[in-house]
Symmetry: C2
Subunit: 313 residues, 2 copies
């Protein structure tokens, strides 16, 4: 039995300590050096090449190194083994921190103050209270949960949107495409942590952005996308920023990553670009999670966070 | 009996509705039109000229329009009447929001990501968890209380510093000048909401900044000053930013306000400048607070937040 590590962008130095921890517990193979493919029982993967998993005849499960599994399910030859989503606490907390940071920056109009600072302008701007600002969450899973807890404590006016009705949130949840317009028209700051599936691809487009609240306490609606780049149509976001449909955006993910140097998003004064690390997790935390999940599966149990392949996440 | 409104920088439009509310309850005088000075029993003031209060023979109390009363106590001719500090909930919440916003921006290294964005650089930077970052509060009063509550909930490693020992905080509090070095050497992000008094003037100087933690999880210590400009020595802050003693700063207050266009703080890439509005309060909230305090005093009671003139705040 062996564990395959299949990471597209490998950072040797960052992984040294975590590999030692893994190696102490199980024989390792590091892609592309598979050794005898029949020995490999588990794979810990991030954007592995299509076909790799299908080449492992005794694969029992694949563990994603991120909360999203779109990079695995996109492989049409992926064998019918369990797919485990990464769900460690440090990932959840970092996503919380990214969302809280960006909601607070938009509440306090950081983009506008930064523009004033460049021009050496001392001018107070209207300053809504948190309770006056309506934050809408598209995606109410583990990745959103930490931010929801803090923003509830701060008194923001929250709502959520999900595929199907939810009754476990301390605020209204709109469900399905039918209730999307009602959700959008009460939303000043839209926070997206949706998974990327065939249903959600391109959902953050001009039609959706034009549905956001008008006349709210901020100069215009704000988009925060911490889900996947494939959810957003960047040409639409730029057009909506240009015509005032959207006031500002925080984007951690992009249609193409790294974001090409030619993208106008880099230079937009009201767009905050980060390099897809809203919810970075340490290699050591990933290694520990993988070992825990393997232990559970070897003992015949069900992993902590199994992806539903029909649903797509 | 009349109420005097004495505001140095008057914004007619913003005050129209609040004045109507005040006028419905009490005769008003608006500085510099005093009418008969002997009629004036209360003053609601922001940076009034020295000597004005002494010219009112029947003044019963003066109400500051801000949490700080330094602008009143600096007047050597201020009569020995009660001085009421403004302490409404919207002020407290806005200060909370400013501090949480800025702590989160520094936790998530926004200054460094903004610099990368300007250069179109896609690079992940080390990303500490909140629990790994030590935030130190100088000043533990009403203005800090909202932020403390949220940062405790987020798991930051907090400590405080105060004039005298405190045992009502859910974290260690260092007291007095003697324990200041120990407080500083465990502080990665310093949040200052101290009042300006003869004791605290210039306290945020090079000596203090050089005492902050070295080798912490951020590239260097961070200063957030939301107290008074007179607390800080801007030449020292700039020198400490230049030599790496300080990594970044959020400054809402300045030695001279508005911050002069010639100040190098405007152009520093790791300084966030805001126009002394961390804790703005609406004229309507100020008016309601003043009426409540006048009612209390007219009934012979003690106002909500009386300044201690010996202590200086």
């Amino acid at each position: 039995m062996a564990l395959l590590i299949a990471i597209a962008d490998w950072d040797d130095a960052a992984w040294a300590e975590a590999l030692a921890v893994l190696r102490a517990r199980t024989p390792l193979r590091i892609w592309p050096d598979l050794g005898e493919p029949a020995d490999i029982r588990y794979a810990l993967a991030w954007k592995p090449p299509h076909g790799l998993m299908a080449s492992l005849p005794n694969l029992k499960a694949v563990i994603s190194m991120g909360a999203g599994v779109d990079h695995l399910l996109a492989d049409p030859s992926l064998p019918a083994v369990p797919v485990v989503r990464y769900s460690a606490e440090d990932l959840r907390l970092r996503m919380r921190d990214y969302i809280v940071q960006n909601v607070m920056m938009h509440l306090r109009r950081h983009a506008d103050y930064a523009a004033q600072q460049r021009e050496r302008v001392w001018r107070e701007l209207a300053q809504p209270l948190a309770s006056e600002v309506r934050v809408g969450f598209m995606g109410l899973g583990n990745m959103a949960s930490g931010a929801i807890e803090i923003l509830v404590a701060m008194g923001f006016a929250l709502a959520g949107w999900a595929r199907s009705p939810r009754h476990d949130m301390p605020f209204p949840v709109f469900a399905g495409r039918g209730q999307l317009p009602a959700f959008l028209e009460r939303t000043d700051i839209l926070v997206c942590t949706l998974p990327l599936t065939p249903e959600t691809r391109g959902i953050l487009n001009a039609l959706l952005l034009r549905g956001l609240a008008r006349g709210g306490p901020l100069p215009g609606p704000v988009l925060i996308n911490a889900g996947r780049g494939g959810l957003q149509v960047e040409a639409d976001i730029l057009a909506c920023l240009a015509d005032g449909t959207l006031h500002a955006a925080s984007l951690d993910v992009f249609e193409e990553e790294p974001l090409p140097a030619t993208s106008p998003l880099w230079a937009h004064p009201r767009v905050f670009v980060t390099p897809h690390n809203a919810a970075w997790s340490s290699p050591m935390a990933v290694a520990r999670f993988a070992l825990e999940q393997i232990d559970i599966m070897e003992a015949g149990g069900t992993p902590a966070s199994l992806a539903d392949r029909a649903r797509g996440y």
